[in-house]
Subunit: 210 residues, 2 copies
DNA sequence: ATACATTCGTTGCAATTGCAACAGACAATT
DNA sequence: AATTGTCTGTTGCAATTGCAACGAATGTAT
């Protein structure tokens, strides 16, 4: 169990027991399919097995933006998002996806041991959401594109534990996630290459000296 | 219990019972005092009785920013924040404050009824954090100062349920929270007044037509 | 009462950014 | 094989924004 798994702090034995709870329904989605809408009564939970999914928000004035993305192993669901009074939220497939769905009740109430391990998993999921939100705020708080880019890259380095990695989304989508103009971001990316801070080929980044 | 109280969904009877748990230590802080540091072993929780407190972050390169602010009734604590690997976080008094501290254990384990109401309160607190984070992301995602300002103002209108209200922090601190230059924000604020979208005197805002 | 610090409000100027538009690379579909 | 669509990469130009600086107003400490 790596430190970002929702099953961290769960023993092997507990995990084996919980596998029963997780035998949910598997579904496939094609790129751009809508996987889930955050409607009021929605109590289902999705885990990404393959592909990448976006959490998108539509604001009052109709603008959409990428709030978060879910890679393999990540969990999403309205239950782990706050009430969305102002914006509409939904989950969309960034590429072809395989998702396992199960109900909140099933995860929480299927075995006898109601409190201990289920509470841990729930806590892990919620804390993951919080951590990713704070990370996003930290990135968006940077005043310049340079700042946003390098803060993002530093987070990914920490996550992948390597100075060389593939950005999990397209550069167009990254610009959306960073809330900057794509062409302006490309310009800044090139400047950073010119200054020998990073090297980059498409979405493959190597950190030289940030 | 209003909808933003951490005691929402708790009955009057349950609330009376829980008051016992909440008889924590009261402390006063003066403006700019540091109320709490988010160190690893910190398991105490604070509730704001009077004043306003900031959640501040210090990034790797030493820049600080206002991530969140806590008004009367709001709860803060490292336990409700994710692990802070990259940035340092701390709570600071934005003005003179009165804070009640108690331990996580005390809130969760002081009476017999361990699961039901305590779980609800914990859930409320965590969901508040998440909701405020998503709100902040939504605001910071706007590309222009105008967008950030009007999105922020719309959220406050919803919160205060009125078209006329006082912004709870100084305009300087608001600029920090919105991650924009203060003078540029003032300029935009004046433009919005000139265009008759809002009227504003200091931090007292009246929405005319957003 | 006086000195000091903070916030508010404003402006000129330089730098950054967004917008629009275009071409090439690549993949998927027909 | 041709077509369609998406993504990458680039540029000129206009608009926005940040920076630096200043004075006025307000509040706080001595």
């Amino acid at each position: 169990m790596n430190r970002y798994s929702i099953f961290r702090h769960i023993t092997e034995k507990e995990f084996e027991e919980m596998k029963v709870c997780l035998s949910g329904e598997q579904k496939h989605f094609r790129k751009n399919d809508i996987i889930m809408r955050h409607t009021d009564d929605n109590s289902s939970i999705g885990i990404v097995n393959k592909g990448i999914a976006f959490l998108l928000s539509i604001s009052e004035n109709g603008e959409t933006g990428i709030i978060d993305y879910y890679e393999k192993g990540a969990v999403f669901g309205k239950l782990f998002s706050p009430d969305c009074d102002v914006n509409l939220y939904y989950i969309q497939a960034a590429e072809n996806c395989e998702i396992t769905f199960f109900s909140y009740d099933r995860l929480m109430n299927c075995c006898e041991d109601e409190c201990a391990k289920h509470k841990k998993v729930l806590n892990n999921i919620v804390m993951d959401s919080l951590r990713k939100s704070l990370m996003h705020i930290d990135i968006l708080s940077c005043r310049s594109i340079r700042g946003k880019l390098s803060t993002y890259i530093r987070y990914i380095r920490q996550q992948k534990d390597s100075d060389e990695f593939e950005i999990p989304v397209s550069l167009s989508d990254l610009a959306d996630y960073l809330s900057v103009d794509r062409s302006a971001m490309m310009r800044e990316l090139r400047k950073m290459k010119d200054e020998n801070l990073i090297s980059a080929k498409g979405s493959r980044i190597t950190i030289i000296d940030l």
